[in-house]
């Protein structure tokens, strides 16, 4: 029982606070918060590969409390992940305690934050401290941040902090991050520009990571290095300070906008790049144009050797990332291609993304009474072109050398991901709405998942909504993925009935009918219900989850097969 004492005490302390102060304002003071709980009872299922879990009942829970009064605010989050859901256990997001607290003061000229904070410089190529709770990512910095606005249109930010690493202690850490960022909004400085409708911002960042290096690294323990001659890197050859800088520009005029950012990282031998001494770089370009009823967006990204973490021996996706190289492909929420979501490859990717939106106007022959929305999408990503340097060939390993050379705009030999898609959305009457989508996806299983080969698949998805009365609605989601690769074709159906705004109930099944192994042509059913009351949502579900990959915004993590009953509660107050 003693083990649970801190938990119980914390809750007993927090609990009356929330009831007393929740959603209340006293004069200028305001206290608010939110709470999330996600629990599961696991059952073994040998067919789908859901293993017997050592503790069947698991839960993730957290509570946030915020206090604010004028320019002052403070907050604290308590997390309870002592017996987390098995996918969080896999990435070692396990423990309990306060890992987020801050105090912040701001006025017109200055903002000062002490404690944990999230921050992003530009597009995040040099620094991005952020959280994604579903993926178990929280890389807030513990330290201090100062943001100054000395003159209208000029912003300068400075940060210093130690990055959060799951529930590990901050004590005894031998690494920290510091950074400086400046941005000038020319439109604010030159009123004439603004009057004419031009906006131009320029910015630059400088970030540096320090990590003590007082011991040699035996690289053969970490990489696939076979050569003995370069396996040990002496400590004096390991850089302790690793700078990264970035510069950016954005320009807008009427419906047009252009964004560019370039970043370069200095020598950073680490486990993800086989301990090479090459500099890393990334370029992100984006141009968009839109007017009423029409929009087009094109972007380009290249990143090479840009994996940048607080600790050189860490390569797990969700751990200690300092920067964030965006995966710019279109993000889909279709169940059947969720396993084939593209994960950003900071060490080697070059690619383009193009999206066109068009609305066939209302009250036309094709548009009907409500208009028809069309979305076209194309994206294609390769690895970067990498030619090993002579020394690497001589040693038989890149470790300890410059690694490779890479011509900047050349696409590498391997296709990582391609998506060609069209989506049509039309409302027939006030009560009937239909969305139909087709996608052709190519996904490199070998590089992105470590299996062999390439997955090429055709997805057809239909989403039909019938509003029966003003509050009652049916929603039918049908998807078919046709492929001869990986575990073959799938068909998926989900029927949801909702009574607005409080009740949802759904039943769904994903059938892997095309699995090359007839004994693995399995069904993954799911029954779910949810109750929503203002900002509180309680959801219950029962079913099977396929072993796969969960990707949110180009960051992915493995999800083990599971079978069981889940309960989730979120609320804010």
């Amino acid at each position: 029982m003693r083990k649970y004492l801190p938990l119980i005490i914390s809750f007993l302390l927090l609990f009356p606070m929330t009831t007393l102060f929740g959603q209340h304002q006293f004069g200028n003071s305001r206290i608010s918060g939110d709470f999330g709980f996600s629990g599961m009872y696991y059952m073994p299922d040998s067919l789908i590969g859901a293993e017997k879990v050592d503790s069947k009942v698991r839960a993730n829970a957290f509570i946030n409390l915020l206090y604010s009064n004028g320019g002052f605010s403070a907050g604290v989050r308590y997390e309870y992940y002592q017996f987390p859901l098995i996918d969080f256990e896999k990435i070692q997001y396990q423990g309990q305690g306060v890992r987020y607290f801050f105090a912040d003061y701001k006025n017109k000229f200055i903002q000062v934050t002490a404690g944990n904070f999230y921050e992003q410089f530009g597009n995040g190529l040099a620094l991005r401290a952020y959280e994604d709770r579903q993926l178990g990512i929280d890389n807030s910095l513990l330290g201090a941040r100062v943001k100054v606005t000395p003159y209208k249109g000029i912003t300068i930010k400075g940060v210093w902090g130690i990055e959060r690493f799951n529930f590990e202690s901050y004590l005894g850490r031998r690494d920290f991050v510091r950074g400086l960022d400046g941005e000038i909004a020319l439109g604010e400085l030159i009123p004439k520009m603004q009057e004419k409708g031009f906006t131009t911002n320029i910015g630059a960042s400088f970030v540096s990571k320090f990590e003590k290096a007082d011991e040699p690294i035996n690289t053969s323990l970490y990489s696939g290095t076979s050569s003995i001659c370069s396996a040990i890197i002496p400590s004096e050859k390991i850089p302790q300070n690793i700078p990264i800088w970035a510069t950016r520009l954005n320009f807008g005029y009427k419906g047009f906008r252009f964004d560019a950012e370039f970043a370069q990282k200095m020598q950073d031998p680490n486990v993800s790049n086989d301990f090479i001494y090459k500099k890393g770089d990334a370029l992100f370009l984006s141009a968009t144009y839109s007017m009423k009823g029409f929009g087009v967006a094109a972007s380009f990204i290249r990143s090479d050797n840009m994996d940048f973490r607080s600790q050189r021996m860490v390569s797990q996706n969700s751990w200690l990332g300092i920067n964030n190289i965006p995966a710019i492909n279109r993000q889909y929420s279709y169940q059947l291609i969720s396993d084939y979501g593209f994960a950003s490859q900071p060490n080697s990717q070059i690619g383009v993304q193009l999206q066109v939106n068009y609305k066939i106007p209302k009250k036309t022959k094709l548009g009907g009474k409500y208009g028809t929305d069309l979305t076209f999408n194309f994206s294609r990503f390769h690895n970067t072109d990498q030619q090993p340097v002579a020394l690497a060939l001589e040693y038989g390993t890149p470790t300890g050398t410059e690694g490779y050379t890479s011509s900047f705009f050349k696409f590498g030999p391997d296709l990582l991901y391609q998506d060609i898609g069209l989506e049509i959305s039309h409302r027939f009457t006030k009560s009937w709405k239909w969305t139909l989508a087709y996608n052709f996806i190519s996904y490199n299983l070998e590089i992105l998942q470590g299996h062999e080969g390439m997955m090429r698949g055709h997805l057809v998805a239909s989403d039909l909504q019938w509003k029966i009365t003003s509050k009652h609605a049916l929603h039918l989601d049908l998807q078919h993925l046709y492929t001869k690769d990986d575990d073959g074709s799938h068909i998926y159906g989900m029927l949801e009935y909702s009574i607005s705004p409080k009740w949802f109930i759904s039943i769904g099944d994903d059938w892997n009918y095309g699995n090359p192994d007839p004994s693995r042509r399995l069904h993954y059913f799911n029954i779910a219900g949810a109750f929503v009351w203002n900002t509180t949502r309680i959801a219950l579900n029962f079913g099977k989850t396929k072993e796969g990959i969960l990707c949110i915004g180009g960051v992915c993590r493995a999800v083990p097969a599971s079978y069981g009953v889940g309960l989730s509660i979120t609320t804010s107050f």
Partner: protein, 173 residues
């Protein structure tokens, strides 16, 4: 095992009264939205304290281009929005939590659909965090003084009608 269930129950037990006090009939000191720096579609800094509508009601929707129910909700409102504005003078701020992966595509996405909302970008979820929002879609209604009078998470078809009822009541229609 028992201890584990006990501890999880303990977590739940503490959450229930939180839900219970989430009662909209209780007279409350209404809260204003926090003042957070976010961005306009052309990349300029916008402080959320400047969200206003000349004393008329305001809707704030937190959404993302990858969130299907969010888009369904905003599309459903878009079909009625002209009438809502005419009748009540309401103004909708659609604040996207798309980050740098997809934020550049928010403007073409919104314009391509012909939405008439004021669209803002919360690229590192600072506003979402300050609003204690767990998941999108999230929608709240502010009165003429900028105070939160109603909030809701998730979307079911028809949910927009309740939103309109509340706004009509606020302007006395």
């Amino acid at each position: 095992m028992k201890k584990r269930i006990l501890s999880i129950l303990c977590v739940l037990a503490f959450c229930l009264p939180v839900i219970a006090q989430n009662d909209d009939t209780k007279p409350q000191h209404l809260a204003k939205i926090p003042a957070i720096d976010i961005q306009t579609l052309d990349g300029q800094v916008f402080n959320t304290a400047n969200i206003q509508n000349d004393g008329k009601p305001i809707i704030i929707s937190l959404w993302a281009t990858w969130c299907r129910p969010c888009i369904n909700e905003l599309m459903a409102i878009a079909d009625e929005y002209e009438e809502w504005v005419e009748e009540t003078g309401v103004k909708l701020y659609a604040i996207s939590i798309d980050d740098s992966k997809t934020s550049a595509r928010v403007a073409p996405f919104v314009n391509g659909r012909g939405w008439e909302y004021t669209v803002l970008l919360d690229v590192n979820s600072d506003f979402k965090r300050a609003m204690n929002v767990n998941d999108v879609p999230y929608l709240c209604i502010l009165n003429g003084n900028g105070e939160i009078v109603w909030q809701h998470t998730s979307y079911a078809a028809g949910g927009e009608e309740e939103v309109y009822e509340i706004i009509k009541k606020m302007v006395g229609k």
